[in-house]
């Protein structure tokens, strides 16, 4: 068993607390993605699992072992860094074999393990090259290969793809997904990228200011966010938020849209201020005079309308097919009230 369990884990730098008692259970073989805004503590948390940062309080277990105070090398984890952190003076082969060499494995074993990993990652033609002679994607693969070779129980990835260009990012993302399918090890993955989080994760952990906001499967978070923060964070383009107020007749009045909608949730008292959230892909543009189109971006298969309400609020609407409305056009918007979300204006908690 090699799941990872965090138990009331706390990290302090001097007096500054950056991780506030995180509890988390990652199952054996699970692909867990940490997301959250910059500075929320994603990297710190991962590095605590790796042993690169000391854990101030709490316990970290890998499998059944308490690793809280262990050396990084003894934890059975491997890490892939954002900058790859390849040793520039070693060849690809030496890079991959370095960990085994340090732990005193016989040469023949190292060779066969490296060969195996390079086969999986299609790195054979580059084994004798130095990292400087590789492209970004190849370097990234070497970094992963270096992790694989050591046969760790847990893989850690800290924004492994953010230094690659868009095309390669897609390619490597698919490769990492395949890798997880193939070797089935537990993986923890930090990313900024919506798409990576949604597509790779078995479980997404949304962090904010050193605390967990919500944990769940990607589509669960997408469909059923616990609060405005998670709702706004998951999904791209981000959910539109509009100020609204509960009316006496059990509806929600949205000034920006110049209409009221009947959202099927247990509404608070009339007059309560709420926030209505609706995703760009769930809104349709209809003829009307409520709002005006500011700008339209057509990407071929899909296009985005940037719409400004007379209240000054802005929305994005996604349209399928290839059309391009002229800026300045007046329109109305319609959507299925069942796909709208309501949040408390103060606590930002979801109203269900």
């Amino acid at each position: 068993m090699s799941g990872v369990t965090l138990n009331k884990v706390v990290k302090r730098y001097g007096n500054v607390q950056v991780i506030h008692g995180v509890d988390l259970k990652i199952e054996d073989g699970e692909f867990c993605v940490f997301v959250g805004p910059s500075g929320c503590g994603k990297s710190t948390l991962m590095r605590m699992v790796a042993g690169l940062e000391e854990t101030t309080e709490g316990r970290i277990e890998i499998g059944d072992r308490d690793v809280t105070r262990m050396d990084p090398a003894e934890r059975g984890v491997a890490m892939v860094f954002q900058t790859y952190a390849l040793y520039p003076h070693m060849t690809v082969e030496e890079n991959m074999g370095f960990g085994l060499k340090m732990t005193g494995h016989p040469k023949a074993e190292i060779k066969s393990k490296v060969a195996e990993a390079s086969r999986i990652l299609k790195l054979d033609p580059f084994l004798a090259r130095k990292p400087a002679a590789l492209s970004g994607g190849q370097r990234q693969r070497v970094a992963i290969g270096r992790a694989i070779v050591r046969g760790p129980e847990v893989f850690l990835f800290d924004e492994p793809l953010s230094n690659l260009d868009a095309e390669l990012r897609v390619e490597m993302r698919v490769e990492i997904a395949r890798l997880h399918n193939d070797i089935g090890a537990t993986m923890i993955y930090v990313t900024h990228d919506q798409v990576e989080a949604m597509t790779l994760a078995d479980k997404i952990v949304v962090l904010r200011l050193g605390r967990i906001e919500q944990v769940g499967a990607p589509l669960d978070l997408y469909r059923d966010p616990d609060n405005k923060f998670v709702a706004g964070f998951i999904g791209s383009p981000a959910m539109n938020f509009l100020d609204a107020v509960v009316t006496a007749d059990g509806k929600v009045e949205v000034p920006a849209l110049k209409t009221s909608v009947a959202v099927p949730v247990t509404l608070p008292a009339a007059g309560t201020k709420v926030i209505l959230g609706i995703r760009p892909e769930h809104v349709d543009v209809t003829e009307g005079d409520a709002l005006s189109i500011e700008l339209t971006e057509a990407l071929g298969g899909v296009s985005y309308d940037y719409i400004q309400a007379d209240t000054g609020e802005r929305l994005i609407v996604e349209e399928r097919g290839d059309h391009r409305a002229a800026p300045g056009t007046r329109v109305s918007l319609s959507f299925d009230p069942g796909r709208a979300y309501l949040f408390d204006a103060d606590t930002e908690a979801r109203i269900r």
């Binding site: 690169l52 040793y87 520039p88 340090m102």
Partner: protein
């Protein structure tokens, strides 16, 4: 000197020659003073030294052409013996070259020791750098007192352990080592500062990756840190070699080449032959300088070659 090129649609005003060729001409204008100085004081004198080395000249009167006689005498070509002083100087230079390199590991060691972030570490780093800032003349004086055969601190210290007094600078088999040790002191400080800056630039993620890979202590140093310190090592190597071949001040202050010439090195010998109290052999001195130059040339070429390799990747 100002001129207006308002980007507009008017045809540009006719421009002076300089303005039209600004980018092509500017570098040469900027280079001119440096090149002038450098040529007059460095490049041309090197050539002149070659020229002088083919003459016999007391530095006062007229020079007489002697061809390669000076070199033949120095190197013992023909039936004469190799110049003994030259031989001693040459081997001493080799000792300097080899032993001076100890400054590199020593500097690295101190740099590693000081590469921490405790309170006041900056002051410590500066104080450790101190010896480099001090003149070699003063270093030489200090060390010659340190070595004094009777009153020297060194003898006081080894006396504590029951060892008899040694006269390092008076013993022809030890004197050179004693001077080198004095030279190592500031040189180590220099290497230390180079390594400290080098350690600053070590990629922390690589260190972390290596920690995950199970590398620790010496093995971390050897396999991961040292390769990253290569640029620092390279510079340290270069400055140390230069320092070793130029070692003049220390010798002149500490032993003046003695006892009986055992601490001479080529640079000192050439000074002695051409400009010292009894030296009136400019041509001979220049020949020694030229030989020293050729030894150095090996290093210069090595250095330029490495730089050239780096440059080929650059813009």
């Amino acid at each position: 000197m100002t001129y207006a090129t308002v980007p507009d649609t008017h045809p540009p005003a006719p421009r002076g020659w300089y303005k039209r060729n600004q980018i092509a001409v500017t570098p040469f204008l900027f280079l001119a003073p440096a090149i002038l100085f450098f040529a007059v004081y460095v490049i041309i004198p090197i050539g002149q030294s070659f020229w002088i080395s083919l003459h016999e000249w007391d530095g006062l009167g007229e020079a007489t052409w002697v061809g390669t006689a000076n070199y033949e005498r120095l190197l013992g070509i023909g039936e004469q013996n190799m110049d003994r002083k030259f031989e001693t100087s040459f081997w001493n230079n080799i000792k300097w070259l080899i032993l001076y390199l100890l400054a590199i590991p020593a500097g690295l060691f101190i740099a590693l020791f000081l590469n921490q972030t405790v309170r006041g570490i900056r002051v410590y780093k500066s104080l450790f750098f101190f010896p480099f800032v001090i003149s070699q003349v003063v270093v030489g004086l200090v060390f010659s007192w340190f070595y004094l055969p009777r009153e020297g601190l060194l003898n006081a210290l080894i006396g504590l352990f029951g060892f008899g007094p040694v006269n390092i600078l008076g013993d022809p088999s030890l004197a050179t080592y004693g001077i080198i040790a004095a030279g190592l002191w500031p040189q180590t400080a220099y290497c230390m500062i180079l390594y400290l800056t080098g350690l600053n630039a070590v990629d922390p993620e690589q260190v972390e990756a290596a920690r995950l890979d199970g590398a620790k202590g010496w093995r971390m140093l050897w396999y991961v840190i040292l390769p990253q310190l290569k640029p620092a090592t390279f510079i340290a190597f270069v400055v140390t070699i230069i320092g070793a071949l130029r070692s003049f001040d220390l010798i002149s202050v500490m032993t003046n080449g003695g006892p009986f010439g055992s601490t001479r090195v080529l640079s000192f010998y050439m000074f002695e032959e051409s400009l010292s109290e009894f030296g009136f052999r400019m041509g001979y001195g220049a020949a020694i300088a030229v030989i020293l130059f050729f030894i150095m040339l090996a290093f210069i070429i090595y250095f330029l070659w490495s730089m050239y390799q780096d440059e080929r990747g650059g813009r």
